[in-house]
Amino acid sequence: MLPKLTFYQIILAVVAIGFIYTGLAKFIRKEKKQTIIKLLATVFIWGSVLLFAIFPRTPHIISRDLGFGHNLNTLIFVGFVVVLMIIFKLLTIIERLERDISEIVRKEALKKLNNGTTE
């Protein structure tokens, strides 16, 4: 039986379902960038959002069972997660920049061939 939902809970649930659906669709379409790991991560993260949106008491139960009863512990844990996410994001950006640099260097090196000369 579904609990009575507020407007914000419904919005959050719809957004989460949207992300899960998009992730699944990408995987079914075998899009190059959509790996099983990314799909699982999407389902896990947005599935959690969906769960917490519909059943808001779930985080309290999990938090209590995992020993995050004290606010400070939860704060440190969340802090670690955020820092890791930032590092991951930065690495992705650096990698993309590296690739872009290589592409520019490659285009420059191939310029004369594209102009029809090998000299």
């Binding site: 960038k33 790996t35 790991i37 690739r99 260097v105 490659r106 191939l110 061939l113």
Partner: protein, 226 residues
């Protein structure tokens, strides 16, 4: 000597500071009948570019160093532009023997898409630490790319026209070799491994070794998340 087939074969050689040996390497390749040579100078600080140019090779220059794999990719792109039927990639320090090209070309002519040179198929025994590292590396590569090969970091390879067109790689530094395996698996290309000779002289010994196992782990993680 005549070129072994009527097809347009391009030999691609990435170089960085190989000025001491590049002319010898190019001469050897030409002596074996392969005249279409693309040298990609990956930001050398010595006279590699001028020396390769003097040997009438097609020499392309990266204005800054981007890594061996980036140079190989530039060579492959050049082969595409030049409408190559077969592209052979090999190292520019003389460790690969151009005599091995013939068997690779023959296999491509017989319908194979990618021929992979293997240092470990020549029947020679290797020390156990090297054997273990290599097998662990091969295992990780198999896990990430779905393809079991005996030598996943050899740059001595030959590609058919189809392989040249469809193989897509993105990484610049010593990861292309493994990425190619992933592409062979994903695009269902026909492949074959052949034993190759690896020669070691003072120059090749002075080159930094390829990061084998470390690279295997990196490639596996990258394959899983990207």
């Amino acid at each position: 000597m005549q070129e072994p087939s009527a097809k347009k074969i391009y030999v691609i050689i990435p170089v960085i500071n190989n000025g001491k040996v590049i002319q010898k390497v190019l001469k050897e390749i030409k002596d074996d009948g392969y005249y279409n040579i693309i040298v990609v100078d990956d930001g050398s600080e010595d006279d590699s570019y001028e020396k390769a140019k003097a040997m009438n090779a097609i020499v392309l220059k990266h204005m800054i160093n981007r890594g061996k794999d980036a140079a190989v990719k530039t060579g492959i792109e050049a082969a595409k532009i030049l409408n190559a039927d077969i592209a052979v990639t090999m190292d520019g320090d003389g460790r690969h023997n151009p005599k091995d090209i013939r068997q690779m070309v023959d296999l491509i002519n017989n319908g194979i898409d990618v021929v992979l040179g293997s240092r470990f198929l020549n029947g020679k025994e290797m020390p156990w630490p090297e054997w273990l590292t290599n097998h662990l590396d091969n295992f990780l590569t198999w896990l990430a790319n779905g393809l079991w090969v005996t030598d996943n970091h050899s740059n001595f390879r030959a590609y058919s026209k189809r392989a040249i067109e469809v193989i897509y790689t993105e990484n610049d530094r010593y990861e292309r070799d493994s990425e190619v395996l992933r592409e062979i698996h994903r695009k269902r290309l026909k492949y074959w491994e052949v034993p190759i000779e690896v020669r070691h002289d003072d120059h090749s010994r002075s080159r930094p070794p390829k990061p084998g196992l470390k690279n295997g782990i990196k490639t596996m993680i990258r394959s899983l998340i990207s």
